[in-house]
Symmetry: C2
Subunit: 286 residues, 2 copies
C-alpha cells in the first residue's frame, strides 16, 4: 500500500507517542520531533507507510539509545494473552466451525497494536470480535488452500497477538513457519517474543530480516524471500504486513482488524471492520 497524504500527520503523532514513552524530557522529545519533521521529505508517496515507521524508530534510537522501546509492554501483552489461552482453547472446542473460530481468535489478537493511537482492552475487544460479522470473509478459499497446502508461511505481527496466532496454527494442523521481524520495532513480534509466546512448540520460527514494522520485501533477507516465493500458502497478520504486501504478486491471505481509516479505505472496508481477505492477483493485474 502506498503512503497517503493523510498518513503524514499520523506519522508525527506516532513519533510523539514514542517520544513520550522514551523520555520525560520535553526538549529531547522536541528534538525528536524536529528530526522526524525533517525526515517527512525522505518518504515518497510511492513508498509504504511502515518505511516511515522505520525512520521514526531509527531517530528515537539515535536520540535515546533505546533499542526495544516497548519491551515491557510486549512482555505484559504476551503474559496477558497466555492467561487467556486456556479459555480461548475451550471456546474453540465448543465452536460450530473450529477453523472460523480460530481465524476470529487470531484476528482478535490483532488489536494488541502499539503503533496505533487507539487504546485497546484485550478481553473486551476479544468478545466483540469473536461475535461480530466479517466485512470480507474469504473462508472458502482459505479452507480450500489449507486442505491442499503442505506447508504454511505465517507472517506474525505483534507480540501478544502471537499467542492468538498459536491457536490458529494449532487448529490448522499443518507444518507452519512463523515469521518474525528482523529486530525489535514498536511492539512487533521478534524471535524472542515468539518463543516467549510458545510458538516454538508449534512452528519453525524464522526472521524475515525486515527491520520495519511490516514485511517490506526490499528489506527482507534471502532465506525469507526464497520461502515467500515458494510457499504453498501465505497467511499475513495485521496492518503492517498488509501495507508491505498488498501489491505483491504472490497469493496471500490477509487477516486483520482495520484499525486505521486509511488502510480500511484501501481495502474497501470500514474502520474497525475485521477481514479475512484472499488476494490472488490475476495475470492481468500482475
Amino acid at each position: 500500500m502506498k503512503t497517503y497524504l493523510q498518513c503524514i500527520p499520523c506519522f508525527v503523532k506516532q513519533a510523539l507517542r514514542a517520544g513520550y514513552l522514551s523520555t520525560n524530557n520535553e526538549h529531547e522529545i522536541k528534538a525528536l520531533m524536529d528530526r522526524i519533521g525533517c525526515r517527512i521529505k525522505d518518504i515518497t508517496l510511492d513508498q509504504t507507510p511502515p518505511e516511515m515507521g522505520l525512520i521514526i524508530y531509527d531517530e528515537i534510537h539515535k536520540i535515546t539509545g533505546i533499542d526495544d522501546l516497548y519491551k515491557n509492554e510486549k512482555k505484559a501483552h504476551i503474559k496477558e494473552a497466555k492467561r487467556l489461552y486456556p479459555m480461548l482453547k475451550k471456546r474453540l472446542q465448543s465452536a460450530d466451525d473450529t477453523l472460523l473460530m480460530a481465524v476470529r481468535i487470531a484476528i482478535a489478537g490483532n488489536v494488541m497494536d502499539l503503533g496505533m493511537e487507539k487504546k485497546f482492552h484485550i478481553e473486551n475487544d476479544l468478545e466483540h470480535i469473536l461475535e461480530r460479522d466479517f466485512a470480507i470473509c474469504d473462508l472458502m478459499d482459505f479452507r480450500e488452500k489449507l486442505d491442499q497446502a503442505e506447508h504454511i508461511l505465517y507472517l506474525g505481527d505483534n507480540a501478544g497477538e502471537s499467542v492468538f496466532d498459536k491457536i490458529l496454527i494449532e487448529a490448522m494442523a499443518k507444518p507452519v513457519t512463523y515469521v518474525v521481524r528482523g529486530r525489535a520495532i514498536i511492539n512487533d513480534v521478534t524471535e524472542e517474543d515468539a518463543i516467549d509466546s510458545g510458538l516454538d512448540e508449534v512452528a519453525e520460527i524464522i526472521s524475515s530480516g525486515s527491520p520495519a514494522p511490516a514485511t517490506i520485501l526490499d528489506l527482507c533477507n534471502e532465506d525469507f524471500l526464497k520461502r515467500f516465493k515458494q510457499a504453498d500458502m501465505i497467511i499475513s497478520k495485521g496492518q503492517g504486513n498488509y501495507e508491505g504486501l498488498s501489491e505483491t504478486d504472490r497469493p496471500v491471505f490477509f487477516l486483520l482488524k482495520a484499525k486505521c481509516p486509511v488502510i480500511a479505505a484501501d481495502i474497501g472496508v470500514k474502520e474497525d471492520d475485521i477481514v479475512l481477505l484472499s488476494v490472488q492477483k490475476t495475470p492481468m493485474e500482475k
Copy 2:
C-alpha cells in the same frame, strides 16, 4: 501560551487541511508537507502556537501563490452571520440580562474557526452555546470595567464571528476600536471582512499589524501597541488571541470557546467549554 508538544501533530494536520484546500495535486501537497515538516525545528516551545500558523500559511503562499486561501469561506460565513443577525437582536431584546446574552452571542460566533479540525454548524452550535453554562464567567468584573471604561479595545478573531461581535459592541454602548489582523490568514478577520460585517457602523477599525492568526505583540505595529498599552478595557476574542496574549501584563477579558484540548487545559477548563475570563496579573505574577 507556549507551544506544547501536542501542538506539533496538530500543526501538521492543519497544514494538510490547508494543502487540500489550496490544490488538488497530491505531489504539490506532499511538497508542502515536506517543507512544513522541516520548519517544525524553527518553532521553540517558548513561542506561541500561532507563530507556527504563520509559517504554515507562508509556505502555502510560497508553493501556491495564494494570498487569501479562505476568501470564499469568509464571505459565506459573513453572509450567514448577517442572515442570523436580526434573529439574534430579537433574542437580545427578550433576554433577562442583555449584556450576558450579548457576551454569549459573541462567544457563539467563535465556533466559526477554520483553523480547527472540528466542523461547525453555526445555527445548531449557536443554540447550544446560548443555553449552556460558562466554565468561567467573570461577568461582574466585566460589567464593572465596562461601566468605568471610556473606550474599549476589541480584538477580533474570525470573519463571520465579526458579525456576532457587532452585537456585543452595540450592547456595550461605548466607543470601541475593533482590531483586525495585519493580513489575510486562515479565516481571521481582516479590515475588508470587518467592513463587510458592518463593524465600521459601530466601531473604529484598525489593524494590529500581526500577520499571524493571533495578536502576537512582537509582530504588531506601533500604533496598535500604543493603544494596547493605554486601553481602558481590552476584550480579546478567540483562541488565537488567547495564545498570543495569555502571558501579557495588561488586563484582558478573554471571550472564547475552548475548541482545542491543549488550550482548554492551559486555561484550566474542559474542551468545548465557554469562557469569559478576566486575566489581571498581580504585581507578584508580573
